[in-house]
Subunit: 472 residues, 2 copies
């Protein structure tokens, strides 16, 4: 990519535009009966490149796609819905996209806080994982996380963990959209006691992956450059290329790991990945906290993306990622919560609020990471980071109908001058009351319709009791 095209991407990023491909609108109805008509929303925030917002908005849904978006009066003249929702008192917006989770780790939520990273990993997390991570607990923990994410407005998540085919089944059952990354590292793992068999495990994972819906897609996840040899990184990335799936890795979360990689390979981690040829438009790097300007430019040039996880990085004391620099260099940046062991929740509204504030205080600049930029990272920016910008991330005709509605009749959202300000600086996940994924209503009045919430929570509590007992 030339400097000029980098500059163009930088301008596009600043102006909110992503690279545009035509959306598949040809087969969509322009009027008549549709599957859902959502109308009368007090505010509609489309989360499109121009971050359009208008009063009294409506959306027509045909199958799994958005057929039309516009003023409520206009759409009600053109369409009627087999099912309809009057959203008076609500704000309708695009579903949020969580670009980095370890969903099954919800079972370890709050099991060990306020510890040095090494002690936390070696004395709390690794022993708990060795004892309790199996296909059943991964299914249960991922289902619990899917409930939490749907209820707090995330319609898509991008995951990385072990036994990821079980996690994928949970995503299928919950009705959420997901990219499910099977994890690899050069140490024995719960689902791969002999790490040298990683290629066979990857192929097994891909062959077992649920195929009944393209809503849930596979991915491969190399844990990090300091836990995966160059050979592992390269061969997993090759598999991703041949299967046309997303490659994920953690990148430069701590200063120590940067020092370690420089010592081992003579290059900073971003340059090391670039030299190995694993950075391209289908590579997502989580964190990217300790990136140099050169690494940022290399990532921008490669088309790889970053998942920014401010809450987890703050809680672990890791550092503040140079996100404003990434964005001005044209890097695609999404938001992620990270796993519940280091967050300790999966509320993307909270994550948006942290992102919008932490860069301001870190740079002593109230103009850093303005509201629209923070919201974009959780919507269209996240879609781009996953390579799904043509499918999700905004309310535009032809895109998948992934939508959420927030209850505005609450003191903390009153009065309202600008809906984007409220989404970023005042809203919380619990304001979400209705959710559609793929055109299907999955949350109604704050309750998930796809699975038995009470049963999942009570199973998770039982598992928590077992885990607690094993510690004492």
């Amino acid at each position: 990519m030339s400097v000029n095209s980098l500059k163009k991407r930088e301008q596009e990023a600043r102006s909110g535009k992503q690279e545009e491909k035509p959306l598949p609108t040809a087969a969509l109805p322009a009027s008549g009966v549709v599957d859902w008509l959502l109308f009368n929303a007090d505010w509609l925030v489309a989360c499109d490149p121009g971050m359009s917002r208008f009063r009294s908005g409506a959306v027509a849904i045909d199958g799994d796609r958005i057929a039309a978006v516009g003023p409520s009066g206009e759409l009600r003249n053109k369409f009627s819905g087999r099912r309809e929702a009057d959203l008076s008192g609500y704000l309708l917006m695009a579903g949020l996209i969580n670009t980095h989770t370890h969903a099954a780790m919800s079972l370890f939520r709050g099991i060990g806080d306020d510890l040095p990273l090494k002690k936390w990993l070696e004395e709390i997390i690794f022993p708990a994982e060795n004892a309790f991570v199996n296909p059943d607990t991964v299914y249960l923990g991922t289902l619990l996380s899917a409930l939490e994410m749907l209820r707090s407005g995330a319609t898509t998540f991008c995951d990385g963990y072990f036994f990821e085919e079980s996690a994928a089944r949970a995503a299928v059952d919950a009705g959420i959209r997901a990219v499910m990354g099977q994890g690899f590292l050069d140490f024995p793992a719960p689902d791969l006691p002999d790490p040298t068999n990683f290629q066979a495990r990857a192929e097994e994972f891909l062959s077992r992956f649920p195929t009944q819906t393209d809503r849930v897609r596979p991915s491969l996840f190399c844990h990090a450059p300091y836990t995966c040899r160059p050979e592992t990184l390269k061969r997993i990335k090759e598999l991703c290329r041949s299967h046309k799936i997303l490659f994920q890795t953690h990148l430069s979360e701590t200063r120590d790991e940067v020092d370690e990689i420089v010592k081992r390979y003579g290059l900073r981690p971003g340059m090391h990945l670039d030299a190995l040829g694993v950075l391209d438009e289908a590579t997502l790097c989580a964190h990217g906290i300790w990136l140099s300007q050169d690494e940022i430019l290399s990532i921008a040039k490669s088309g790889a993306s970053i998942s920014h996880c401010p809450e987890s990085a703050m809680k672990l004391g890791s550092g503040v990622a140079p996100v404003p620099d990434m964005i001005s260099c044209g890097v695609k940046v999404g938001l992620g919560t990270d796993g519940c062991a280091s967050n300790n929740d999966l509320d993307l509204f909270s994550e948006i609020g942290f992102a919008a504030r932490v860069h301001k205080v870190f740079r002593k600049d109230p103009l850093a990471c303005p509201a629209e930029q923070a919201l974009r990272m959780a919507t269209l920016g996240g879609a781009s980071a996953l390579g799904l910008e043509n499918e999700i991330g905004s309310i535009e005709p032809g895109k998948k109908a992934d939508l959420i509605a927030l209850n505005l009749n609450q003191p903390h959202l009153t009065p309202m001058y600008d809906p984007v300000s409220h989404i970023v600086y005042a809203a919380r996940g619990s304001d979400v009351r209705f959710v559609w994924v793929d055109g299907r209503q999955v949350v109604k009045d704050g309750r998930v319709l796809t699975v038995d919430e009470a049963e999942v929570m009570s199973e998770a509590k039982r598992m928590g009791d077992k885990i607690l007992l094993s510690k004492t």
Copy 2:
């Protein structure tokens, strides 16, 4: 205060102890019929100096006081309640204390974000205040804020604004506990066109202050050392001393104001206040972001307290207050949200989460501001900061019955290993479903019982429309 007593206070602060006075328990019943019996709470977090937490907790309330706290079985053997609440599935804890608000500014929530401080103040906030701040709007805005605070678990707030007798009426009507600070500065204000009349205005405020309940108390608030001459600061503090009420001021929120004060008086702001004699145990300073170690020691020595407002400071890009240093030097530190124009909400759970995370990342130390310390700032620490540590801030016999109950049957609070971890790192204001203030139930199933919520919100929306119209 000697170095030894400072060290003692430091040790007490580290070990969670405040200076202890006996609580008024003599007249409380040890058994029999009480006004309220709250029992079966899955977890009780007393927020007392030892941060006690236990399963299956209960509280007996006699009039406005806590008569007993302990295991549910034990209390049910001793007491029966005229009214009872079975809190199975809930976490019962002390009500939160918001030590810094400008409650009426909820009417300006989100009216201007992402602007440089000077432009934001001079082009947005001051004109809006000049046009719209009057006794009626102060009453309305404060009532709206009281609803928001009660619903998100704050049972006490400490305020500063204009027409503060109107704000006090709103606090009385809402049933919340409050310390209401009439604001002063050496410029024309909406309620004091000629600032030289400040003493008469202060006396008028005190004489008009509602006296029907000691739940709502008066205070005087000098805006800041850079907006109030030494004479104003000294005379207002004298009035506070003679009326035995809290003196409030903003202190060192920005680097610029520190430079300004050093230029004017040759001293940093904390030393300037100390030299004027306005720092003592009944002085509360908001922010304290740019304090030197000498200023921290002077504040500790004086017994004055700090209201830490991390979200507002982050959003405005002001800086990160040296709170861990303050606490280790024995300064009393409470948490505050600041006003809705710079936060933009009044959710103290969110503030606790920001406090627990921002010091970790700022110091690159995962052990900075651990969960208990963050929670203490929002409970007993806040009570001490207001000089009310003998009345509120913890669930202990003899204290005022200010209590909140959080719904634990939610995915983001499942499973549960440590309730303090969940309160700090996962809970949000919307988890609060029941609230008692002064022994009176004021929130039931998430709804405020004391005022007509729908009417207040609809009035606030109408006012918001007027304010918006005036801008365009």
